[in-house]
Amino acid sequence: MFNQIKKLTLALAVLTIFNNTFAMEHHNAKHTATNIVINDPWIRSAPPNAPALGLFMQINNNSNKDIKLLSVNTSGYKRIELHRTIAHSGMMKMVKQDFMPIPAQGILHLKPGSWHVMLIGPKRVPRMGEKVIISLKFDNGTTQVVEALVKKGGMMKNHLMH
């Protein structure tokens, strides 16, 4: 009886170690395969009849190669475009981009008044607090799926918005 318990405990320990090792390998494999980490994806809350919404995030490129964000996809919009707001000749210009560059070992910060994804013609404007599934396609062949939170936000980071 005692021997049986000992064997079972041993088997359980082996299984646990094996399982943990496998999980860690799996995690590491996933991490190294992507090289792209997306932080704080968010959509700015907008009036219920807003014809266009802004999507923002931080894209970290942990690889040694420059990467391009080629397109963004989510359901329920007529069109999705990559844009950059540029101050030029006293005007704020929204310039459509073919891609967004994320430098090797660098970060691209999508934020109001700068780089942003324009979600055009929403079937329904998502409400504050909702989470929207977004997929991002990069030129290294990977696609990342993230959940963007709908929240308030101005030009300065989280300024005065409680």
Binding site: N49, P51, L53, G90, M94, M118
Partner: protein
Amino acid sequence: MNYKLLSGIGVVALAVVSFYLVNVDKDYRAILSQQLKVSHIIYNPDKELPKFSLLDYDNQAFNNEHLKGDWSLVLFIYTHCPDICPTELMDMASLKRLMEEDKTAKMPKVVAITFDPLRDTPEVLKTYISYFDKDFIGVSGEQAQIDRLIKPFGAYYERVIVAENGKQTILKASEKLPENALKEGYIINHTAWIYLLNPEGQIFAGFPSPHKPKEMMQDIKLIMEHF
């Protein structure tokens, strides 16, 4: 003789008083300008806004008289703008909240006038502008009236139509939109200053983008105290 002498004294006194008033006025503006953090005084007491007649978001007349009596903050926006315009409106909502908390000065009336009345009808503006604050006023109307009104503010815009192949067509404010533009859509490049108008309905100060509500509040309070 006495009459001539008195007239002479009167003229000299008038000249001295005028000289004094003009210089005091200049001094006050110069001193005020030095204290302002995020705004520029662009006040010209001899300049009135051109007569205009527009519609507010309740389809009621909105003209020069509606910018008189109280201080106002005027901004020009369009609702298809996903970035700059909602940021400006959110900044105005933040400013209003700050001024209400501060309690030492009355928040000016916020008036958002569209660059794009073709798409931004009063009904569209009602839903859109009220979302940011129910007290903000949205204004639409005839394009020609809006184009004339924005000039003395130094505000301007251009419409950009992007074809499917990526080709951009830029239309100046006076140029007519092609028929398919409404269907295909267009964006608007525009100036993004916010303007403070005095109770006489004259442009007094301008705030360039990006806007900082806290600093804006300090400047607005200074201006209103010294006016």
